[in-house]
């Protein structure tokens, strides 16, 4: 029982922090890297590298 409560608490904490983060205005537009999409990307030198190069151009 305590285990379920703790897990629920942690999940709640995560949801709360996600919500807070979403509601905070970003100071500028950065192309958001989706963690999972980047994870499933097949290119070894994926997103990060390309994005940095794109930003520079």
């Amino acid at each position: 029982m305590p285990a379920v409560l703790v897990v629920l608490g942690v999940v709640g904490l995560f949801l709360l922090s996600t919500l807070l983060n979403k509601n905070t205005q970003a100071p500028m537009d950065l192309k958001n890297v989706d963690a999972i999409k980047c994870c499933a990307c097949s290119n070894y030198s994926c997103g990060i590298k390309q994005q940095m190069e794109e930003e520079e151009e």
């Binding site: 897990v7 999940v11 995560f14 949801l15 996600t18 979403k22 963690a35 999972i36 999409k37 994870c39 499933a40 097949s42 070894y44």
Partner: protein, 253 residues
């Protein structure tokens, strides 16, 4: 009639779905997913087999559950719910391993909880299971995990063989061949580095280069064949043209 055709096509795609993980879309050699366990637990064949089995369990079960509940998850909480599902299965699998294969649990160590952050599992949940039905997701999970296990065992085979001159010198699993089939008794020529961290990097790099080499050769062959086909077509077209010209000339004459 049309239905039958459709069905057979689907079945074919299921088989392909299962087998694509081995070479064409191998998670380690093509996508470079899950490199951390691929380097860390492959010092012997048996530990890599054990890790592969754990990943099969977690990937199939998490894919099935994600496919089952994909319609009920709001888009905003997709990632945390995937993480909760995966880590639940990882915890279950870890406890089962501790109970029934304590030696394997000991030798895998912190890499059992780290299955949670293995990009392979999260990636399949996001890119396949969240868009397909339960059966296909289960097949996809099984195929991908089998491919992962196959790659791990290939690496483990090379590393253990280079380091000890034998395979499955039985610690973790009661295999029937227990180091009796492949054992060169080469105490003087063993390269112990290969069971350590440096060997892991070098063996994976070499295997990857070999795989790339085959792929490049295949591509070159395909390119050559295509070129030949194009030339053949050009030749035929030219011949036809010449014949037509001849005919027209003959008609005039």
């Amino acid at each position: 009639m049309a239905k039958q055709v459709k069905k057979s096509k689907q079945e074919l795609s299921k088989l392909q779905n299962l087998t694509k993980g081995f070479l064409k879309e191998n998670p380690i050699f093509v996508f470079l997913l899950g490199m951390c366990p691929a380097l860390a637990v492959t010092s012997t064949l048996e530990t890599s087999f054990g890790m592969g089995v754990l990943v099969i369990f977690v990937l199939v079960l998490s894919n099935v559950v994600v496919a089952l509940i994909k319609d009920f998850i709001p888009k905003e909480v997709k990632i945390p719910s995937y993480i909760v599902i995966i880590s639940t299965f990882v915890t279950i699998v870890g406890m089962l391993t501790e109970a029934y294969a304590p030696l394997l649990h000991e030798s895998l160590g912190i890499f059992i909880p780290l299955i949670v952050v293995n990009c392979l599992i999260l990636g399949r949940a996001e890119s396949y299971a969240s868009k397909n039905n339960v059966l296909n997701s289960a097949i996809d999970g099984l195929g991908m995990a089998l491919g992962f296990m196959f790659a791990l065992m290939a690496i483990g085979f090379v590393r253990e063989f280079m380091a000890t001159g034998a395979i499955a010198y039985g610690v973790f699993l009661p295999l029937p061949f227990e180091g009796s089939i492949v054992n060169l008794e080469t105490y003087l020529f063993n390269i112990a580095v290969f069971s350590g961290p440096a060997g892991g990097f070098i063996v994976i790099g070499t295997l990857l280069a070999i795989y790339n080499g085959f792929e490049i050769r295949k591509q070159k062959k395909a390119e050559l064949e295509r070129q030949k086909l194009i030339e053949e077509k050009k030749r035929i077209a030219l011949e036809k043209k010449r014949q037509r010209e001849l005919e027209s000339a003959g008609g005039k004459a």
